[in-house]
């Protein structure tokens, strides 16, 4: 077929020029990255997000203990401070350690009162042998990133909870659940959002109007009563994992609208772009048109939408768990941990139980900044 616009030839020509070095070309991704990397806050956020996901991935290794391990001697033990240098009769030397506890039970309140015991030096180190665990449920191991040399010694960097469980270990394991809730939930939302948003934007007309009404409707429903109802509706005999996935689906049933909106908007404007019209006139099949020509220019926008949707999922899980309708122990998520902080005892006597709340704030902030950065960079050709 000889048409006035033979795009293949043009492309070949362009290729030749690039290879010959007469033209400098950067892929779209390179341009996005270039713009993104100048957004300093977003770069910091990216590092933080990567770190958080690393923590989630290597939870068993990073946590000093199993999240369920309890010890009656250390109920509500306050956080220990890491000392890098040790001073004793031999002088001062580099010997990272924490101090053990002197504890006594207050006869009036029966509360265990703790004080650091300078006599009880607990040397700590990286890659120590500790409680054995199964990494990702597959590989047996017993090395922990950081911990006491003697695994019988107490090690509570951010304190203990009401059963004397290590809050750090629990928060680290909670990271895995909470962060993956965001990720997996967004994947579900993405699938629904892409399909419906895509159809809506590409087809237009009646289909578009119907889908738009549905989106409008879902957005007008106050989410909390809806979640409450759905969460209360979950069969109570479901194992925790099943509940976890059900909650994901509930969250994403509402979360997809934003992604659909973004996708539709982009499709609507792309439809009128020259290269799409050209491809259509070229007789490119519809599927190929969408997948090959339209989608690539959507990726960055989708990434931005996803990044901004994850924090909402995390906050939603926290709220549901707080209301007692989300995840249940023995599953540990930030929301489940924060449930423990929802009482006056935590506020007055064990404020370290709010640490998972700080994690929520940091994660949500980082994801928001990251999403902001990606959104700004998504259109590398804008000024």
């Amino acid at each position: 077929m000889s048409a006035p616009f033979d795009t293949t030839k043009d492309a070949e020509l362009l290729d030749q020029q690039v290879h010959a070095g007469s033209l400098v070309a950067a892929s779209q991704w390179a341009l996005i990255w270039h713009k993104f990397s100048r957004h300093r806050l977003a770069m910091v956020a990216l590092v933080v997000v990567v770190l958080i996901y690393l923590v989630a991935a290597f939870a068993e290794f990073l946590a000093p203990y199993d999240p369920g391990k309890f010890d009656p001697r250390y109920t509500f033990a306050p956080p220990q401070q890491i000392h890098l240098f040790l001073t004793d009769e031999d002088g001062t030397r580099f010997a990272p350690h924490v101090l053990g506890y002197k504890s006594q039970v207050d006869p009036k309140s029966f509360r265990r009162l703790f004080q650091p015991d300078p006599e009880k030096v607990i040397p700590i180190a990286f890659f120590v042998e500790g409680q054995p665990y199964k990494f990702w449920g597959i590989w047996e191991a017993n090395r922990h990133f950081l911990g006491p040399l003697d695994k019988a010694d107490p090690f509570f960097l951010i304190g203990g909870d009401r059963l004397g469980r290590d809050l750090l270990s629990r928060t680290i394991h909670g990271t895995r659940i909470s962060m993956s809730i965001g990720l997996v939930g967004v994947t579900f939302s993405l699938i629904i959002g892409l399909i419906l948003g895509g159809i809506s934007g590409y087809r237009g007309g009646l289909v578009d109007r119907v889908i738009q009404r549905v989106i409008e409707f879902i957005r007008s429903v106050p989410t909390i009563p809806l979640w409450l109802g759905l969460a209360a509706a979950m069969p109570k005999d479901w194992p925790p994992l099943q509940v976890y996935f059900a909650i994901l689906i509930i969250l994403s049933l509402i979360g997809w609208t934003e992604i659909a909106r973004v996708v539709r908007g982009r499709f609507l404007s792309l439809r009128r772009e020259d290269f799409v019209i050209a491809a259509r006139l070229d007789g490119v099949s519809e599927f190929r048109l969408i997948m090959r020509h339209m989608m690539p220019s959507l990726y960055s926008h989708i990434i931005a939408a996803i990044t901004l949707a994850i924090p909402n999922m995390i906050l939603a899980e926290t709220a549901l768990s707080f209301l007692g309708l989300g995840l249940q122990p023995p599953i540990v998520s930030w929301g489940v941990l924060l449930q423990d902080a929802q009482n006056l005892r935590a506020i007055t006597q064990a404020p370290w139980q709010f640490v998972p709340g700080v994690c929520v704030v940091v994660a949500v902030l980082a994801l928001n900044f990251l999403g902001d950065g990606v959104r700004d960079a998504a259109d590398p050709y804008a000024k």
Binding site: K108, S109, R111, P329, P330
Partner: protein, 633 residues
């Protein structure tokens, strides 16, 4: 022969009558009633008011009592605080003896088939109308037999399905009888259940019944409800636990305070005013109650109520926030909140009852759970001292589920067997009953080689139960039992165990004192609350179920014998026989002696006793005579 105890009671009431008459001119009333258009105090309290001896001193009139409710329908807070006015009553120490209250005395027939009560001369309802034996007869003859008002009859008022009959001899004397013995009737009449007998004012409540008022049905329709029975329930609160008891300000009552701001959904505060016709006086002739009014807040969450307590906005709290978990916070807040922590004695049989399902519908599990050695092994696998330290702030000592030491029902063997923390013994026992093979995950396999997963269920909303389950699971895993904690919602938990689909459940233990007669669920399959053998219990109550082995039937026969006599010594001896079988069978695993209770009491509130027992059947503070509480300033 009448019991000596009974004669003594009658004596007390005569003394009260005599002294009451002597004081007739000297009664005093609250200044809040001065200037109101009321008959004289002497006329209002009647000629033989109940004389209450104040706990520490004669109090002062005045003030508004501040309390708090939590959650949805918390009507029983009002009941246990201000609604305990039974015919006869228990004392604050729950010695087991019954005392005159609404009735000034009673006699029981020797065969425990009929009971004659005398009422107080001149006693009145809160609207000033006379209270007589007719009011009791109205309940026994018109209300109780009615299918709409009482579709199911309270168990303690029926003997093998038979309802009581009443004979009214005079306005102050009546006899309640059955054709068969009801040996536990008097104990029940003094319990929280006994309030039922004198709850309804015939003059007021009968207007809603077609039998007394031909327009009753039409009035109900006009009020927008389906039928007269619903209308009557709404206006009168027919049952002791009906929320409607606290709804209608016009409803006459015998209680010390009557409601002014009703307890309806959406209410944020419920208020009461003193009953000017209250029929109790103190030793100095002051008409009770001392306190003029009650103001009860309605809270969405227990934490909000706890904060109110800490802020000194609550005068007495025992129901929602006064527990071990809050003790450290409360102990540090006494000064700022101007309150003290008053010890209470919890009379339950254990801190927790861990029930292995003997009636499991899984044949493999039924075989294993039914083996006593399995339960003994699970018991030996527990480090109870560590559990007590973790969960109960170190309060209590290891014990199995058993009536409390110091009561006539204590059984040492039942209480102290298999308590030792002995992992080797646990492993040995488990090996010996065919659980010696291990699977790939290191856990024991059932004798047929299938994996043995044991679900340990607890209700998440009840923090201590769920925490306990999490710990138990770890101890049992340590002896190779693949135990898994299953956090459950209350409804689901209840449905599952009632259908006998559970493996092991963690729940509270119940009776440990004289209440073992009323609710012996922990000691033999008695009701669907006997979590270790729900199907056998169902057989007992005639609700299907499965036929149990002979030793269970023997226990049922012994319980029937207890109900056939009203002699306390005989009843206690029979109960010991029954407990021997419980000890042999080792139905349930316990952790420790009941956790001591506590109440939060404002420093300003006087006449509050300490170390008194708490519970549902012997409610706190109802049994402490809230009418003689007073404000020091």
């Amino acid at each position: 022969m009448k019991h000596l105890r009974v004669a003594a009671l009658a004596g007390i009431s005569f003394a009260a009558l005599a002294s009451g008459a002597a004081w007739a001119q000297e009664y005093q009333q609250s200044p809040a009633l001065d200037g109101l258009d009321l008959p004289s105090v002497a006329e209002r309290v009647g000629s033989e008011p109940r004389v209450v001896t104040p706990v520490s001193e004669v109090g002062k009139y005045g003030g508004t009592f501040r309390g708090g409710m939590v959650g949805g329908n918390d009507r029983n807070m009002l009941f246990t605080y201000f609604g305990y006015e039974p015919l006869l009553s228990w004392d604050a120490d729950w010695s087991g003896e019954v005392f005159p209250n609404i009735a000034s005395g009673y006699t029981a027939s020797e065969d425990s088939k009929s009971f004659t009560f005398t009422l107080r001369e001149g006693m009145k309802w809160s609207d000033g109308s006379p209270f007589t034996a007719d009011d009791i007869a109205f309940f026994i003859e018109d209300v109780l037999p009615d299918e709409k008002l009482f579709p199911t009859k309270p168990g303690w008022l029926t003997v093998e399905g038979e309802l009581p009959t009443i004979a009214v001899a005079s306005p102050t004397e009546f006899t309640i009888s059955w054709t068969k013995p009801n040996g536990l009737f008097i104990i029940n009449a003094a319990s929280v259940y006994g309030v039922q007998l004198a709850l309804l004012n015939k003059a007021y409540c009968s207007q809603f019944m077609p039998k007394y008022n031909p327009d009753a049905d039409a009035n109900a329709k006009a009020a927008g409800v389906a039928d007269w029975a619903e209308h009557m329930t709404n206006m009168c609160g027919v049952g002791i636990e009906n929320i409607q008891r606290w709804r209608n300000p016009e409803r006459p009552t015998l209680e010390a305070w009557h409601i002014t701001e009703p307890y309806v959904a959406g209410a944020t505060r419920v208020s009461f005013e003193r009953n000017p016709y209250y029929w109790k006086v103190d030793t100095a002739g002051n008409q009770l109650p001392y306190i003029d009014g009650l103001s009860i807040s309605v809270n969405a969450e227990a934490q909000t109520l706890l904060l109110s307590v800490l802020a000194g906005e609550i005068d007495y709290e025992v129901r929602h926030t006064a527990n071990t978990a809050n003790l450290p916070v409360l102990a540090e807040g006494t000064e700022a909140g101007n309150f003290y922590i008053s010890p209470r004695e919890s009379r339950v049989g254990n801190s927790l009852a861990v029930s292995v399902n003997l009636n499991s519908h899984d044949p493999v599990k039924a075989e294993i759970f039914g083996n006593k050695d399995f339960r003994v092994a699970l018991s030996h696998a527990l480090d109870r001292v560590a559990i007590i330290d973790t969960l109960f702030l170190g309060q209590g000592t290891p014990q199995q589920v058993s009536p409390r030491e110091g009561t006539p029902f204590y059984n040492e063997r039942l209480a102290t067997q298999y308590l030792e923390y002995n992992v080797d013994e646990a492993n040995r026992l488990l090996d010996s009953i065919g659980l010696d093979k291990r699977g790939g995950n290191g856990f024991r396999l059932a004798p047929d080689g299938s994996p043995l997963v044991v679900n340990v269920a607890a209700v998440t909303a009840l923090g201590a139960n769920a925490d306990a389950a999490e710990l138990l699971v770890q101890y049992w895993q340590a002896v190779g039992v693949d135990a898994r904690f299953s956090a459950q919602d209350r409804t689901r938990f209840y449905e599952e165990k009632t259908a006998s689909q559970h493996d092991i459940v963690v729940w509270g233990a119940t009776s440990g004192g004289i209440d073992v007669f009323i609710d012996p669920r922990d000691y033999f399959p008695f009701s669907t609350e006997s979590n270790f053998a729900v199907d056998w219990a169902k057989y007992y109550i005639g609700d299907g179920g499965t036929e149990p082995p002979d030793y269970v039937k023997e226990q049922w026969a012994l319980y029937d014998q207890i109900k056939g006599t009203s002699n306390p010594e005989e009843q206690a001896a029979l109960f010991q026989q029954l407990l021997e079988i419980t000890a042999d069978q080792f139905y349930q695993i316990g952790i420790s002696t009941a956790i001591p209770g506590l109440a939060v009491v404002s420093n300003n509130l006087g006449n509050v006793p300490t170390d008194t027992p708490t519970g549902w059947i012997h409610p706190d503070p109802g049994t402490l005579n809230t009418e003689q509480f007073y404000f020091k300033n």
